[in-house]
Symmetry: C2
Subunit: 146 residues, 2 copies
């Protein structure tokens, strides 16, 4: 079940890659249904806010008609950065599932851990789901850039 949603996130990461973006994808699931999808669009849309999680959270808020997303699980191929981890806290998302760790900018355990900080909301965090696939798509992308 977790693998299935991470596969959906990986499909979005591949779409990002095809568009020349760093391949990161994200889906948000509630009661077995995907309520939000996103992929990296930073270069195409020329916005610092263009991360996969931000797009997925915006869509989930539209789908559910609420800024609070309790009972939702967010699946993302790469460990969220501080902006996205903060958005997850603001949206009261219940569970965060990520694939690859981001030792450079990860805010769910790598550089910082905003999910276990002093903030009011503390989502459950599950790491390493389809880790190898999520890592490989990033490694391949950066290898081709060189």
């Amino acid at each position: 079940m977790m693998t299935r949603f991470m596969q959906e996130a990986l499909a979005l990461a591949r779409q990002a890659e095809a568009a020349g973006e760093i391949p990161v994808g994200c889906v948000i699931e509630k009661d077995g249904v995907i309520v939000g999808r996103g992929r990296n669009r930073r270069e195409t849309d020329r916005t610092a806010l263009g991360h996969a999680e931000i797009e997925a959270i915006a869509e989930a808020c539209r789908t559910l008609g609420e800024w609070r997303l309790p009972g939702c699980r967010l699946f993302v191929t790469l460990e969220p950065c501080p902006m996205c981890a903060g958005a997850i806290l603001n949206a009261r998302i219940s569970t965060v599932v990520f694939g690859a760790w981001d030792p450079r900018a990860g805010a769910c355990g790598s550089v910082e851990d905003l999910m276990r900080g002093q903030f009011t909301h503390r989502p459950e965090v599950i790491s390493g789901i389809l880790e190898r696939e999520c890592e490989d798509i990033l490694k391949d992308f950066f290898k081709k850039l060189r």
Copy 2:
């Protein structure tokens, strides 16, 4: 000069208040010109991303046609939360100027300090500009709610 831009942010906070939102406003300035404006729209737009800084950063990226905003100063009436502090890092904003401290969710020194963390980018941070006015507008808002 700093006071002038914070007054502009306060004017946006008052617009938020008039719309029934927690009164927070933000402007982004480059070379003396305002390139992005934002105010809290969380309840109206029903989105967890509806903070003043996010709207201002989105607008500044559109104005300048770039996801990187070096040389920009962000003025906000309330200390940024983790999401907004993370967005400031992602946008490579040079200077953050805020009015009131947020002891509950502030990520520029109160609860966390993402601006002095282990992340690559480290903006200059100036706090307490028009602090009293920025605090009072929030206090008055919450007093009326009770």
